[in-house]
Each structure stands twice: as C-alpha cells, then as structure tokens.
C-alpha cells in the first residue's frame, strides 16, 4: 500500500547506529569502486560478471550511469515474430456458420455448435502454448539483453500496470503490451499512461470494453488513479464515477484500439478539479497535472531500484522519504521524462549508502536472471526455469492481481526458499529434485572463467590460499566476506584442498547460493 509519508508509520525499534545519507547529490567519483559498481549493476540491471563490474569501475560513475540509462545507443536484436491471429475475431464465414448453427434444431444444431466450440478450444490451446513461448522469450531477453535497464524497467511497468493472461486470454495482446512497456521503459511516463488506456490487454483485463454510456464500468478509472498514477487518498469516489464516464467507448477491435463514439458518454464531467466534456485522454491529462502523480512515480522507481519503502525502519524511511521527494521534483520538472530521475538516483550518495546495499530481496526474476548474468551459468531449460519462477511466486505475464506483486519479504517463505536454493543447484549443476538434466555433463558451470576474472580484480587472490579465494568469491557473489555461514564454507574449502578446482568452486557456489545472504542484492 502506498503511504505518502512515513509519519503515519509506527515507530520501529531504533536500529543500531549510523545516520543514513539522504542526499541526492552525486557520489564523489573517487568513491565508485568494485562494491559500488557491483551494486549499480545489480540494481539498474540484473547483476554482472566480474569483468563487467571492472569495466564500470574503469569507466567511472558518470559514464557507467550514462551507459546504463541511455540504453538506446546500444544495439539490441528485434523480438521474434509471434502469431497475432490465433485469437482473432471470427471471420465473416465463421460468423455465418455460427448463425446458421443457431437456427438449426435438435442434433444438427448440437453438432454444428460442437464443431464451433472445438475450433475455439483448439485456438485457445494454441494460444496458451504461444503464451508460454512468449514467457520464455522474455526471460531469455532479460538474460541476454545488452540493455539490462530497459528490461528491468519493462518488468517494473509489467508489475505496475499489472495485467494477467489468465483474464486476457490473448497472448498477442500480452506481447503488444510488453512491447509498449519496453518502448516507453525509460521514456515519458505520460506516454505510458496515455498508452495504457488504449492498450487492448488492459482494456480487456479491467473490462473497459464493457463500459458504455449509461452503464460505465468503473474498474479502469479506479485503478488508473489508485494503482497507476496517484495512490489511495489522492482522489475521491466522484472522480472515479466521472472518470469512468470519460473512459466509456475506449475499447478495441481485434488488435487495435478503437474509440467507439456511439458508446462514449460525451456529457460534461468534473474530474480532479477539471471540467468539460472530458474524454479518457483529458482524464489522463488531469491526473498528470497532479503533484501526487510525480511523487507516486518517484516512489515506484525508488521501491524498484533502491529499497523497500516504507520499510518500517525509521532512519531508513525518513532518508527514503526525502530522496523520493527529490525524485518527484525532478520528474515534475522534466514533465514526466524518467531519465533525469533515474540518473539522479543512480548517481546519488543515498543510493550507495551501505544501508541500502545488499538489502533488497531479489525477486524470482532477479534471482534467476541475475544468476545467469553474473555467474554465466548455463540456462539449461527455459521451461523448467519458468516453472520454478512460478513456484517462487513470480509467473511473468500472470501477476496475481491488478496490484501486481507485493515484492520484498512476501517473496520469501520456507517453501519458496527451497525452490530458490534448488533452482541455483539446477543452474549450477543440472541436478533436479527428481534426477539430472541429461545435458548436465555437456554443460558444466565454468568456475574457472569466474576465477580468472576474479584474479584480475583481486591480485592478492591466490589459488593456493583457500581463504583468499573464498574472500574474493564472496565479495563478488554476495557483496560481503562475512556471511553467517562463513566458517562452514571455509572448512569445506579446506577439506577440498587438492581436489579439482573447478569442481570445488562449483560446490562452494552451491553453498554460497544457499546462504540467506544470496537472496539479497
């Protein structure tokens, strides 16, 4: 639930220590080292290899942030062709056939209707299969994209404008929506908001295609303000009612947005202090004029990239509160352009405060994509990986409700923790609970490459000194050398001395990825 300020929060027990830097002034370039670059890669993307981290360190803070945020300069490969017509509306001929069937009687009628039903069921089946393909494609895209921030923002907007295939039942519409999020990912939030009220998947998901003059459906109008732009408490019930009228006639035919003038309520309305014969676009314009909207967007960016808010921890929350305020002003000044705010956040002293680093719980996507991107593990089997993500609670394209995923601690319970740990075992070794991936031997995890890169980053690391290896691996994988389980890890490393280094480090990675700290980034 969005809380505009932290003052309503109950006081949390004071945490030990230190003041948290709440400044959005840029970090001193001198302080941008391995830890900071690692943090930036994990948050503005999905983590990176040792050499990618080192590249950012060499580039320095400004160039690194520019590279990540101005991602259009990096070439990306186009999405594959998916079939747009699986769930197309019935053709003229099919319509005639259906009409004829309804005019029949008795057994003939049932047979004719059954034929039509079977055709529809086959299409639905084919479409579900395509949805799974699209799901796997997006996961692959997040893993392979040279523009990690674009994908990470696409994921943010997918959760923000949460739409589920479960209701939409049209994979092409889900794909189109995903491409819209990608297109405007770091663009202008206003474009996204104007886009979402014309988006067929969203229109179907929130039933706006049933919204007509005289009997408006309030679903889209409500969520547009509550979840997409302003947050609870920043509009009234009357704004919803009038907003719903403004959105009547916003529908789609086949794959295209259609403004259905006959079903639009053209009467005069009063929404958020504006009045006139407002349509859906005027409604969005009225929303965008509100200060609360820029604050809401700033809060969403903060939560996605910086940390939980509110976290229930007083010093953290009051710092976050200030930073969100600064980001909101930036967004307002730039007329909803997102890049200035993103750059401000990724450059800020606050973003690199130790209290924020290694304190975000990885979403299932972050865990999976991050493991492959940072460790270079084999991907093995995308359908199995997608399946595991569902078990961890994040089935992409199937958010649980229009509220999206709650994130944070809600990802973690005793069952999902095992799924997370076991997925890492699968990626690293090909081992599955019920057996082994037949390709596991051909696709081993290459620990040597990681060690080579680490040696470059840490000249003091020596393969003959297990402690130095453990130090280096831990700094890279969990960002600290002193996790709770360090003693057990050291002992395992010592006991493995003299054994094959690739195997030993792979096994150490199994243990490290099972540490509670590995779930954080």
């Amino acid at each position: 639930m969005y809380q505009p300020t932290v003052s309503t929060q109950r006081d949390a027990p004071a945490e030990p220590g230190r003041r948290i830097n709440d400044s959005t002034a840029p970090l001193n370039a001198k302080n941008f080292g391995f830890e900071e670059a690692r943090h930036l890669l994990w948050r503005a993307g999905f983590g990176g290899t040792v050499s990618q981290i080192n590249t950012l360190v060499r580039w320095g803070l400004n160039k690194s942030v520019d590279y990540l945020v101005d991602f259009e300069k990096v070439k990306d490969s186009p999405a594959p062709e998916f079939n747009a017509d699986i769930m197309r509306p019935p053709s003229e001929e099919e319509r005639r056939e259906a009409e004829a069937a309804r005019r029949m009687s008795g057994v003939d009628r049932e047979t004719a209707l059954a034929k039509i039903r079977v055709r529809r069921q086959n299409a639905e089946q084919e479409d579900r299969a395509q949805m799974r393909e699209i799901q796997q494609w997006w996961l692959k895209q997040m893993i392979e994209s040279p523009r990690p921030l674009q994908e990470k923002l696409t994921l943010l907007w997918h959760g923000h404008f949460a739409t589920s295939y479960r209701t939409v039942e049209d994979s092409w519409h889900m794909f189109m929506q995903n491409q819209m999020f990608r297109k405007h990912a770091a663009g202008n939030f206003a474009d996204m908001l104007y886009g979402i009220i014309r988006d067929p998947a969203m229109i179907a998901y929130l039933n706006n295609n049933d919204s007509r003059k005289g009997r408006p459906n309030e679903n889209l109008a409500r969520e547009l303000m509550e979840l997409f732009s302003l947050g609870v408490g920043n509009y009234g019930e009357k704004d919803i009612k009038e907003g719903a009228k403004a959105l009547t006639g916003y529908t789609f035919r086949d794959d295209e947005f259609v403004f259905d003038r006959r079903n639009h309520d053209g009467s005069s309305k009063n929404i958020l202090g504006r009045s006139g014969a407002m349509n859906g676009d005027d409604f969005v314009a009225a929303i965008l004029e509100r200060r609360e909207c820029s604050r809401f967007v700033a809060y969403k960016l903060y939560k996605h990239f910086a940390g939980d808010y509110p976290s229930g921890r007083k010093t953290l929350d009051s710092a976050a509160d200030r930073v969100i305020g600064d980001l909101a002003s930036t967004i307002q000044l730039s007329r909803y352009e997102l890049k200035p705010a993103l750059k401000k956040l990724f450059l800020s002293q606050h973003f690199y405060d130790p209290a924020l680093r290694g304190e975000q719980i990885k979403s299932p996507v972050q865990l999976v994509v991050g493991a492959v991107r940072s460790l270079n593990t084999p991907v093995r089997d995308l359908s199995r990986v997608c399946d595991a993500m569902g078990r961890m609670g994040q089935d992409i394209f199937f958010p649980p409700s229009v509220k999206g995923w709650d994130g944070g601690r809600s990802w973690i319970n005793t069952a999902t923790l095992f799924v997370r740990q076991n997925l890492m075992v699968f990626l690293l070794t090909g081992k599955r609970p019920e057996g082994k991936d037949p390709l596991a031997e051909q696709e081993p995890f290459d620990a040597r490459a990681m060690l080579e890169q680490l040696r470059e980053a840490y000249p003091q690391m020596s393969l003959s000194d297990p402690t130095s290896v453990t130090d280096a691996v831990l700094r890279f994988t969990i960002g600290r050398t002193n996790p709770s389980g360090r003693v057990a890890l050291d002992e395992f490393a010592r006991a493995s001395e003299g054994k094959d280094i690739n195997q030993t480090v792979t096994k150490m990675m199994l243990l490290i990825s099972a540490m509670p700290e590995y779930q954080l980034c």
Partner: protein, 440 residues
Amino acid sequence: MSFDKLSAYTRREFIHAGLVLASASVMLPSFLQRSALAMAPKGGTTSIPGVPEDRVLVVIQLSGGNDGLNTVVPFGDGNYYKARPGIGIKEDRVLKLGKNTEVGLHPSLSGLADLYNDGQLTLIQGVGYPNPNRSHFKSMDIWHTADTDASGDGWLGRYFDAECCGFGKGESGTIEKPKGDPNPQIGIAVGREAPLAMKGRVVIPISFESAELFRWTGRDVDENLGDAYQRISNAGMQETMDPESNAGFLTRTALDAQVSSATIRRAVATKPRVQYPDGELSRQLQMVASMIAAGLKTRVYYVSLGGFDTHSGQGGENGRHANLLRFFGSALKAFYQDLKAQGNDQRVLTMSFSEFGRRVGQNASQGTDHGTAAPMFLAGPMVKAGIHNAHPSLTDLDQGDLKYGIDFRTVYAAVLDSWLKTDSRKVLDGSFTPAKVLRV
C-alpha cells in the same frame, strides 16, 4: 471421547501451537535462535502427538467443474434421463442412499457411499452463489475468496490472519506489521502452488508437491555438502546483524525451513496404517494423514484433483468422469480408515468442492459444458450425516442451468464457527447463517 471436550483454542495458543519458530520472534538474540532448534521437541511439536486437542480441516478441490448431476444422480426425476440420453446413469446402477428414492451416488463412488452408511458423510445439494460465473478462473477465485467479486485474500488466509493478527477482511491500511512472522505451518497445501484460498496478507502457507521438493537438492550432488549446508542454514544471525533487516529476516526463515523440512519429511516417510488406492489424490491424502499422525500443528491442509472439465466424452457409468469419481471416493474412504487407525478421525473434518457444476443437458460431444450449482461433501465423524438441502429443480432453470439453493459461504460459516471456532463474520465479511451440517 466426546466433542464437547474439544477446547476452543485461544489466539495465544494458536500462535504458540506450532514449532518454536525462530522467525516468530524478531528480536531473539542469535544465540537463542540457535537453541530454538534444540528447544523444538521431537517430532517438532509442542504438544503430545495423537492427543486430539486440535481440530484439522482438510479441503479437497475438484478442479475443472465437477459434473454434479452425475455425481449425485437425481434418478427419481425423468427429466434427468431426457437431458442426458447418452451419459445418464441408469437407475439400477445408482448407489442408493438409505431409503432415498430421488437421488443416489454415481456407481464409482462406493467409497463415499460407505462413509455415508457409516454416518460420516454430509451431502449438501445445490450449492452455489448469486450471479454464477462460468469462467473456471473467476468462479474458482470466487470460491477461494468467498467473495462474489473474487476480490481480496483467500478465505482461509483471512482466517489465519484473523487468528494470528486479529484483523478481518477489508481492514486494510490500518494494519501494523505483526511483531514476528506468523507460523507458516499453520496451513499446508499439497501441490505445486499454494492456493489463493490459503493466502492471507500476513500468513503464507507452505506448499509442496512432494516432500522431496521440500529439501535442498545440493546434497544430492555431493553428500559431503549436506553438513556444510546444515551449518550454514543453522548459523543464525551474527551479533552484528540488524535483526530488523532483510538479512535478519532471511536468516530466521532459513532456520525455519530446516526445522519444517526435517519435520515434514520425517512425517511423510512413515508408513500409512492402511492400504491406499492408486491415484494422485490418494497420494496427497496419504501425505496429509502422515502429517496428522506425526502431530504437526497444522490447522488446514489443502489437496486437489484436476481433470473435471469434461466437455467431451465424459462417459457415464464408466469412462473419464467415472474414473475421477473413483479416485475421489476411494481416496477419501482410505483416508478416514487411516485416520481412524491412528485415532485421529475425530479431529479431522474434510470438505470438498468444485468451482461449478455442469449444464443439465449433455452436449453433442457426449460431454457437458460449464454450469452452476453442484453438491459439496463434508466427511468425518463430526458431520451431521445425511442429505442436506433439496436437489435443485431440473425444469426451473436459469438459462439452462440449475438454480442454487444454498450459498457456499453458509457452509464455510459452519466450518469456521463450529469447527474452527472462529468468528465467521470477521472472515467472510458479512453475515452468513451457518448451514446446519455439523454436529459440533
């Protein structure tokens, strides 16, 4: 033993009933956390296993829309045979329920008939809700949320939330974070994913398909890793770790996972006391019976059987639907035999439902399409055995579908009020007069 001895447990007992869970106490110093493991008694419970002081609810979900009319067959009504010339169940094959001359059970449901004759089965006819929705997802969500808009958390999740943290449906925004993290063993779903019904805002149930998935698989790669893994997971928090941080939270959860995994795997490894029939539901119920036998303090177990979406070729006396019903009836019967052998049958109430029934008339593919009202079953020694509510009319229809006679939420209300001893009004967001289906 009599039922009035079963004490209604208080909220305090509810919270303390489970394992001594480290995550339940956010401020526990790390040395105490480690000893929390040692404090958990054998079997992982705080009370004596086998003592029927705690009541258990088992929910069986029949997914896909079970054909109610071929489950409870209205053989006394000629309209039934007119509507179902190909798939109707012949009168002489129907399993009769006592002297009832109107309805009986599908011939595959001899397991249920046995329970019925034993006074351990309530059959509730014509269960539904207003303005029925014929979409699988939507109608399932309506049953799971007990809300005809299908909004909000799951009804059992809300029960957990209400018990642990004292708030009910719709009380949003005012909830402060609970002191600790509520006991995850309060609800266990056997399946790929925890059902919406069990998801609360605070309490998240455990779910696993098999106990094999509820463990770390890294030890299969090299058994020497098992020890190190155990030590890592049990390491607890360091003195320098902020207990309120996410790292602290994860450390506590990792500790809980170890305890839960060990307890549950030990529980399901025990041999059942009776022979279970084949089938997925049977396997799931067998696991539940083992967990109950092991004395887990779980209040609600959730199992499911899919495949009921019989649009074509559903069969009559034999065939697809008949097989599904056989799985269901025989598994439930074995489950209660097992519970009885354990001495736990008095503690366990089972409820079955499906998201909707099917149309009255068969379709051209010898199947049935999505319909509305359907029967629910309650099983266990505590049920008011018999047939509850009249069978819906086969002629007074709503667009070809049965009209419901009883709202499913009145059954939920009975389970919540009489069996789980909670205030159903708080959980169901509205007052539903509990159906008189239980003897307690």
